[in-house]
Amino acid sequence: MKKMNSLFNWTIIRNNLKMYGWIGILAYGAMFFMVPLIHIFAIIISVLTAQAIFGYMYDRKYIDIIHSLPIKREKVFLNNFISGAIILVVPILLLGVTLVIKENIIMPMYSSIDYNIYFLTNDDILYWVMHTAISSIIIYTISVFAAVITSNKINQFLLSYIIMFVPVGLYICIVHIINTFSFGYPEIMTPDTSVAIPIVKAVVSRYTDFEFCLYILAIIAIYTLAGWLYKQRKSESSNKIFVLPWIESINKYVVTFFVMVILEGLLQFDNINQISKSEVIIKYLVISALTYFVVEVFTKKGVGILKSYKGYLVYVGVLGGIIFTLNFAYSKEVPKTDDIKEIRISFYNNFDTDDNYLKNIENKDLKDKILNMHKAAIVAKEDEGRNIYINYSLNNGRKMVRMYNLGIKYDQLYSEIDEYMMKKALNIEDKDVNEIQVNILGLSFPQDVTHSYSITKRSDIQNAVKRIRDYINDHSFEKKIFYSVEGERRDNVVVVMNDGQKIYLFGPKMKKLQHDIEPYETIEDVEIE
């Protein structure tokens, strides 16, 4: 209790609730009557609460009083933060309790039908309470962060929302620059970035358990950062947009970068494949210079703007370095044969770097061919054809990944690699195989009816593995079978290894293979899904 008392200051909390508790009462009332709009409402009320609680920072009279009190600044911050959290969460909890009472006690009294079909279950209400509470608190925390870095309520309000889009925006802009200036960058599947934008998450989608945890961690992290900044912040802070000079600098560079990338993107009238890089660089220079100095004019209010050209030179230097690295070092790099420990290839994607997906090439001859193809691809810059992902593991421990397109002239190499990989993949002992799944697409309409069965008997597996090897090793059209380590293909044979790895077999002669490996007794107990 003593520890609790040393952390919390009930006088500060009580005082805040006395002054701003009405926000919570208002929130409860509003939520009660506007349940459908609740999340939009939460987004606004969270920011307003942060503004009410931390607004004293912008008023010299109030901040002087607060900071003259015998309470450490971090404790002032903590207790103010808690006050706001109480104002936000208590109405949500109360509304949750109200809903539970309504759904479990009041509604059944008036309803003769099975109300559970129409109304909320307790689980629904619990999820709703957690969703709304976590959404409110993360937005509130971000808004408190915004409050700490700026110097008036309008800025704080706007920044609260702007900040939420910065991480995703930066990510998109950086990927755009990499795609523009590099050749061979493995395009990864666009991840779902909505989780990084709390207001989007709050309104449109459900949280997974993982996202709940992620948000709680994010709240702690942002709180800690804001608390640290609060201590750095001076009581006598000026009326600039950003009260700490180094945050002002970060902002300057971030805004310059955003405007540069986005505006250049908007000015791209041509086909994206035909843009000239030098043209992009010129546009980047012009836009960034203008933006940089406009931002300087706004933040410095006209004092010492010309002196800040050095900061711009730093920006140009860093940007130039990145573009140079992407364009030359990155795009033209081919590892030396002696440095390579392993080469792994995939034709599908590089998103999952699980070793099972990428087959190690051990054949010296094939390795050389891949390296030559890599060198040729850098020169040829093909952008059509089959994707090939090359994963190098170098002797110094570095991993290097590139993606190229293999045009028609590489069909031979493609087949060779494909063949090699299939052989390697299926160069297995039947004792390593756990089961073989056979999925047969029906011939009659509707086509999505699939017959499936598994081969699990040892003797049947032995027979099947023998047959499959036979097909793989024979490249005649009669027995052409392809191989993949991923897939949802319905008409296939899936070899499941003891370690869980799956190898998918498919191709024009699939029906024949399926027939050849089918054990006699399974014919009778074909399952219909």
């Binding site: 200051n9 006088t11 005082n15 006395k18 450490k72 006598e236």
Partner: protein, 302 residues
Amino acid sequence: MKMIEVRGLKKSFEKLYVLDGLDMNVNKGSIYGLVGPNGAGKTTLIKNMVGIYKPDAGQIKINGEDVYENVDIKQRIAYMPDENTSFKNYSIKDMAKFYKGIYINWSSEKYEKVKAVLGLDEKIKIDKLSKGMKKQAMFLLLLSTMPELMLLDEPVDGLDPMVRKKIWNIIIEDVVEREMTVVISSHNLRELEDFCDTIGIMKGKKIVIEKELDELRSVITKIQVAFDNEASREELLAKDYILAKETKGNMDILIVRGSQDEIRNEIEATKPKLFDIMPLTLEEIFIYEMEEAGYEKNELIV
């Protein structure tokens, strides 16, 4: 015993120094008057002393400890800003409740007593009080925290004499009873001279003169003197303890360094026709002190 010891204090705003190498000493139980023109940095100094501002450089020791973020020390300080503040819509009672929760030494007994002396209605919202009443309400709240040190930023400037006297009386009571220390700022020396025992004068981002008044009064004396004998007059006027002179007819008005007794002996030895010791205001003393310290007379416009 020193209550406050400031050494080499520097504080800047936007790279502009407001305090630059300031030293200050306040004895325990003393009433220290901080005097300087508007903009001299008095408020900034006080805000540094109460831990609102963090010094750029230098030290502020209160009871021998740094004040910034020092909860124990700040518990013992009562600070009165130049602008009155309470939280919005708070009555005196609400503020009292708040302070009671914050200050461990809060005395409800003291609160009731001072409230009765000042005749304040605790239910009235502080925002609605007149300027003088607000100040009184603030004094009520601050004194109830039983501070060891009061830092008052222009607390009596612009108040009517009755209110001012009332406030001074309660302050002095605590100084006498509990050996409370008071630092009080004003741009007007006259506001302070009747109550302070020490005066610090701020000028050019520093405290240029810091003296106990008893000491000051004992070192500078104003006299008027007339001679029959011109030679005796010449002889006297040539003495180096004369700081300033003014001649009216055959009467010389002199400001001299030295206590009244010393001066009396000195002068009477020269057999003047007329000799009088005249009252010297605090303001005059400081003007001559400043001149001694190398400042122009008109630099001390207080």
